[in-house]
């Protein structure tokens, strides 16, 4: 039963974050790249105040899958390493925490670009 509750929370929180993004797009016509950076920074700043981790605890993937979760993971890693290793940790922790995700994105991007054929976008 608990697992279903988790799915519902993930759906509602994840959906709500995307809904906020869509409202901003409808309203300002920002491009995808700018929207991604905006949400990334929002997640990072919220994590700076320790708030985003609480949202992830509550909603799981609903908060960690949106790009704001990526921003939060960067800050969480950097702050955690800074507390144990000082300035060296502040420089190391962020990327170290996200290394898996970034590496998967780069390697899969490279492989897909090699294997698949480019297709013309239907507009």
């Amino acid at each position: 039963m608990e697992i279903f509750l988790m799915f519902i929370k993930a759906f509602l929180v994840g959906g709500a974050i995307c809904l906020i993004g869509q409202i901003i797009i409808n309203w300002t016509h920002l491009t995808n790249g700018k929207i991604l950076v905006l949400f990334l920074i929002a997640g990072a700043v919220l994590e700076g105040f320790g708030l985003y981790s609480k949202l992830i605890e509550f909603a799981g993937a609903g908060a960690s899958i949106p790009i704001s979760g990526f921003g939060s993971a960067l800050v969480k890693g950097a702050v955690k390493a800074a507390k144990s290793e000082g300035f060296y940790g502040a420089l190391k922790g962020g990327l170290a925490a996200c290394a898996t995700g970034i590496s998967i994105a780069i390697v899969s991007g490279y492989l897909v670009a090699t294997i698949f054929k480019p297709r013309t976008k239907k507009k």
């Binding site: 993004g21 993971a73 994105a105």
Partner: protein, 149 residues
């Protein structure tokens, strides 16, 4: 159309704005919520699966990685862009949208070679995201060090 007889940056923008197909905002928002929520539920399903073997933190990272991989393949097949056409922010904001933003230009610019095509264009959108993310994370971590957070 006299007001467009001379093209400047400003009136071009308003021209495009006028000609843009008017999509219903309510419909956009509905699809963004539905698709965004669904992608997060699939992510949660992977977390629950990986939790059987890994700690919750590792499971969460691996689940995001799996979603990135799936989105990369769907982008290669041309499926993700079809979802994106009606899902809007629902397909952009999840980590799968980041993956799409990495793979899509990499694929498109393969004809320019693997170094300046795939290698460079892969970071068209990912670059700004990583640059801003890393910068802000270092700043926040140093502020936490100074003020003791």
């Amino acid at each position: 159309m006299e007001k467009y007889c001379e093209i400047t940056k400003d009136n071009y923008k308003s021209y495009v704005f006028e000609k843009m197909p008017k999509s219903s905002h309510w419909k956009n928002m509905f699809w963004a919520f539905l698709i965004g929520g669904t992608i997060c539920v699939i992510g949660q399903a992977f977390i629950e699966l990986y939790k059987l073997w890994f700690s919750i933190e590792d499971a969460s990272v691996l689940a995001s990685g799996t979603m990135v991989l799936i989105a990369a393949i769907l982008t290669g097949l041309g499926v993700y862009d079809n979802i994106g056409r009606f899902a809007g922010a629902g397909s952009t904001i999840p980590i799968t949208g980041f993956s799409n933003a990495v793979v899509s230009p990499a694929l498109e610019f393969r004809s320019e070679g693997y170094i300046y095509g795939v290698g460079a264009k892969m970071f068209l959108v990912a670059g700004p995201v990583i640059v801003n993310g890393v910068t802000i994370s270092v700043i926040i971590a140093i502020l936490t060090l100074i003020f003791g957070g």
